[in-house]
């Protein structure tokens, strides 16, 4: 039964290697303090990943029509636009109906 023992040993080593690789990230120091200090001091809101258009450079700050500037359902100009899902529903999408005499809390 040499083959089966060898196979189980190899699978065991593979599982251990996987766990070691997966737990390696937890032990890494991502220097969060430095990054958060930078974000806080400069008031940054977005990642500098896609710099080809303003709505890909600052997706969280883009105006709501920016991806469809030419006409509704227009094809996306930039490849990274395909990675960006529709803007999430936020405060700006809420509809609130107020009585003119009502006072806000």
């Amino acid at each position: 039964m040499i083959r089966s023992r060898l196979f189980l040993g190899l699978i065991g080593c593979g599982v251990l290697l996987c766990f070691a690789l997966l737990s390696y990230g937890q032990l890494q120091d991502p220097d969060l303090h430095g990054k958060r200090q930078l974000v806080k001091l400069l008031g940054l809101t977005d990642l500098a990943l896609f710099s080809e258009a303003r709505y890909t450079r600052h997706p969280s700050q883009a105006d709501l029509f920016s991806a469809f500037q030419d006409y509704p359902a227009a094809f996306e100009h930039f490849p990274s636009g395909s990675l960006i899902a529709p803007a999430p529903v936020g405060l700006n999408r809420w509809i609130s109906i107020h009585d003119p005499n009502e006072r806000l809390p």
Binding site: L21, D31, A48, F50, E52, L83
Partner: protein, 385 residues
């Protein structure tokens, strides 16, 4: 235990008899898992990076909208927002975009009020004089500039402006600062011709986190032409962007997964006459259906588990050691400058288990079902056919 080991021994011998078929299946299987794993690892690492770093983003950013587009916001709005109970601080931010025709790249120009605090991830210092600037590593790389060099930018009056580089953001921060050029706020106002009464947007700090939504509603009520964006919306945007289900990368890999499924189904269900005869002989020799199924189970598990482990290790090395060279071109899009960012090797265990479940279990099922069909048929009939 010994019985199972013997069955496994028999299975491995049987797999080795059909080396070429099984090896090709293993390679395709591992490659598919490596592709899917790479997408998962990369998007999760980026999502974690965004949520960790942007946790310190302004609690509320207030923009002004006019005719559905972003407009400069009057600085006077800051005073009105500051007067709302619960607001700690309102900082007008001045920033914008700059296209450099020479290098054909877009940069983000941002004004700084000359913060006294030294930034850890900045080599040198923040611009303190009107003719100084601090730049991200992408900007420095594209111009081949270093600290002390001069950067030439063309302002909104088409005048050449020279700025001395006083600080350089480290590569560790390039996911945040790669295309950033930091200038003193007054200098940037002159550069973009923005008067003192206006700003790009307002960053609002709030004492109590639980009041953010209420304050955002109050701002909308008092200043109806504004659009408040909360920090949770910023973080949610990034979660959505890098969501596993969204994006072209997964669509591309889904096609690969479907192609693999067809291949695996064909290989696993298309049980050959040789295999059928083998099952028939085993049954004729007195093997139970359960024993035959155990062989097929071990066969499926041996291939799928080996492929899964190989695929996951390959994906990890591809993303966290090599920097995902196969996926970066898709991410990069048409960006002229793209950050060379080191990713923290964070992996979502739940996603990994889902991937394992979605790849190992179907393969096991499509190995077992045809074998079971053959095993329950009369051995004589199986051997005759």
């Amino acid at each position: 235990m010994t019985r199972q080991l013997k069955i496994l021994e028999h299975t491995l011998a049987s797999l080795l008899r059909r080396k070429a078929k099984n090896l090709s299946l293993l390679v395709v299987y591992a490659f598919t898992i490596a592709t899917l794993g790479s997408v998962l690892f990369l998007t999760h690492a980026l999502k974690t990076e965004a949520s960790d770093s942007l946790a310190a983003a302004p609690e509320l950013v207030v923009q002004r909208l006019a005719a559905g587009r972003n407009e400069l916001i009057p600085v006077a709005y800051a005073e009105r927002i500051r007067a709302l109970p619960g607001v700690e601080k309102v900082t007008p931010r001045v920033w914008g975009y700059y296209y450099d025709a020479l290098v054909k790249a877009n940069f983000t120009l941002m004004g700084t009020a000359g913060e006294a605090e030294q930034i850890e991830l900045l080599e040198g210092h923040l611009p303190s004089n009107p003719d100084e600037c601090a730049v991200g590593s992408g900007v420095a790389a594209i111009f081949g500039a270093e600290i002390g060099d001069r950067l030439v930018l063309i302002d909104s009056h088409e005048q050449n402006r020279l700025y001395k580089i006083s600080g350089l953001f480290s590569t560790a921060s390039s996911l945040l600062t790669n295309d950033l050029i930091l200038l003193p706020e007054t200098t940037l106002r002159e550069f973009f011709a923005i008067d003192e009464q206006r700003a790009t947007d307002l960053a609002v700090e709030i004492y109590n986190q639980r009041e953010v939504k209420t304050l955002a509603k109050k701002i909308r009520f008092h200043l109806p032409d504004t659009r408040p964006i909360t920090r949770s919306e910023i973080l949610h945007t990034y979660t959505t962007i890098f969501n596993w289900r969204s994006g072209m990368m997964l669509a591309v890999t889904l096609a690969a997964l479907i192609a693999f499924c067809i291949l695996a189904w064909d290989k696993a269900t298309g049980i050959s006459s040789e295999e059928k005869r083998e099952i028939g002989i085993l049954k004729a020799l007195g093997w139970e259906t359960a024993d035959v199924l155990a062989i097929k189970f071990w066969e499926g598990l041996a291939i799928s588990l080996t492929a899964f482990l190989l695929g996951i290790v390959a994906a990890w090395l591809h993303v966290f050691v090599l920097g995902a060279p196969a996926l970066v071109p898709i991410l990069k899009g048409w960006s002229v400058i793209f950050p060379d960012f080191p990713l923290t090797a964070r992996v979502d265990l739940l996603q990994l288990l889902t991937l394992a479940f979605l790849t190992i279990v179907p393969y096991l099922a499509c190995t077992l079902i045809p074998a079971w069909k053959t095993a329950v048929t009369d051995p004589e009939q199986v051997m005759r056919n």
